[in-house]
Symmetry: C2
Subunit: 345 residues, 2 copies
């Protein structure tokens, strides 16, 4: 009996492969119609998930504390783009109940990433991908250890939104995402077909997408802003405009940005992947001109939630250190934030 | 008439010189009986001045907001050494009304030092000295520009006291002073006779005195503690025990102490004047063992008073920079404090 069973399973796998080659656009691609799972239906996951569903895509939402409410009443999005309601959404409180999806969006705070080894395997299709819409550096590597390094895509969100009540999201500014495919050790992999597929889905939902061929560079570029402004906003209890108006903090922000540049350069070594001084100038100008902004880390701090110190500060610091450089100011900010985070719980 | 007048003055000056050689112990010394002026009768100046008067010395107090009260009721000192009252003190609100004194103690906060060019010249005797009982570095050089570099002595106080009401001081811990004579550009000048004279007066008042022959070294030694703990206590809203218990802040404090050591080494160059790693270890141990302590800068911050950022951070930073070294963490703390100080007014 046993040998026959094994043969049957083997045939079934072959059949699946055959089917796959028919419905997939290419070997590395996703099906023509993608289904989505949102792991973490908060201010960010709830917003993007609702927009995808509103655009006609099949979306499945994992919730925790808001499950009962959303299961009964759906989601409400108040938005600068126009308010909308989704009275019925596919809500789950357990990944075991969810269907496997083509694209699993990780939209938790990184402080909950210890849960990913339990959350991801049951919900991602065999040839599906995990899209990491989180802050910081090194998260894709952690996810790759769970699902394989050929099944991870990174996303960098520029979004201002808050959850103001169960299932009720207020979107106040920005929404664009930079998408970049992941390969082992953050090797640059260009703009892949599956990246284009994801971009198409988001664009269909009205989300502007920048396609990046170098996830590592994109992540460090975002750190150029996040390290000074997320960190200092907590330590100094200040919004971006107050910091930029002060000559000392503007200078410190620039010092920190230069350290991020040095950290990236040490990690990638000689070559044409650079974070230019002009990029730092651009980020400073952009921050000086943007409207007063309370950073996401400051919001977390004010709400007494755990801060994403390891993802945004700890991981880049350790990578730079392994590459042989010290970043004293970044390290000092890390140390200050670790202390404040602990005192704040 | 004019020539006669000049001759009379000339004779009078010669007479004074003759008299001086009789009553002075040596050329550089002070009279056998020293009179004291306290410029700034707050928690520190009030405490030491009251103790000197209690010990039988002639003391004159300059006051501002507390003048009326102290003029009528004198000073009250609540102290771990025993409470005492001085119902009558020599109180002034204008240096023009004060007698010139042999020893003028500067006990203002350094944030008021812009007043010294007006305050000091009228109250210091021709051969008198100015004793600077202030925090930080470089103040003696500023005072030397007003009264001459041969008439300045530095004092480093280890004192916990607060002014709790007009003319009412509460002394809660410590009281010792390190005294060190000043010479041009902080050249070490050993333990001078006049330093011994001052030490004797303070010891007569029950204040333990350490005699230092190297003011510059003593000032930097104090910075080893003041830079990390005064600075971080404000930025992190924390007392010493909370900081020392936290592995990250303990490490940061040590990093900052190492920078102070590097700064001092750069300023003095090669030679036998060193701030040893063992001294840093000693300061860390001492801080871990001392009872929980709110630093003086934290008290100033909590009371919305200006912080002594320039004396404790700005001056050492600039000296180190001129000597060719950058102290990135100390500079970052300086920048953070400048911002917080301004926001706090």
């Amino acid at each position: 009996m046993a040998p026959d069973n094994r043969r049957q399973i083997s045939l079934s796998e072959e059949a699946k492969d055959g089917l796959r080659s028919l419905i997939f656009e290419d070997d590395s691609g996703l099906p023509a119609q993608r289904t989505y799972a949102i792991v973490g239906t908060g201010a960010l996951g709830g917003f993007y998930g609702a927009r995808l569903q509103q655009a006609g895509l099949e979306v499945h939402f994992l919730l925790r504390s808001d499950y009962e409410y959303v299961h009964q009443h759906g989601l409400i999005v108040e938005s600068i783009d126009g308010d909308f309601k989704l009275p019925h959404v596919n809500a789950y409180r357990d990944v075991g109940e969810m269907p496997r999806c083509d694209v699993v969006i990780v939209a938790l705070k990184t402080t909950q990433n210890h849960l990913l080894p339990q959350l991801l395997p049951p919900v991602v299709k065999e040839n599906g991908v995990v899209l990491v819409l989180q802050n910081g550096l090194g998260i894709e590597t952690q996810v790759a250890k769970i699902v394989g390094s050929d099944r991870v895509i990174g996303g960098l969100c520029f979004l201002c939104s808050n959850k103001i009540a169960p299932g009720h999201i207020r979107h106040s500014d920005y929404k664009e995402i930079t998408l970049a495919d992941y390969a082992l050790n953050y090797a640059p992999c260009g703009v892949t077909d599956r990246l284009q597929q994801l971009a198409t889905d988001f664009e269909q939902a009205g989300i502007p997408i920048e396609r990046s061929g170098d996830l590592f560079l994109s992540r460090w570029q975002k750190l150029v802003w996040n390290i000074p402004f997320n960190g200092l906003s907590v330590v100094l209890n200040a919004a971006t405009d107050e910091m930029m108006k002060d000559e000392h903090i503007r200078a410190l922000a620039e010092h920190l940005m230069q350290e991020v540049r040095i950290g990236f350069a040490a990690c990638v070594g000689e070559g044409d992947r650079t974070l230019s001084p002009a990029f730092i100038e651009k980020m400073l100008d952009y921050t000086a001109k943007m409207k007063p902004y309370r950073t996401s880390m400051k919001i977390d701090y004010d709400e007494h939630r755990p801060l994403e110190v390891e993802a945004i500060f700890g991981n880049p610091l350790r990578m730079a250190q392994q590459a042989g450089v010290e970043l004293p100011r970044t390290q000092m900010l890390y140390q200050q934030l670790k202390f404040l985070d602990l005192q704040n719980r």
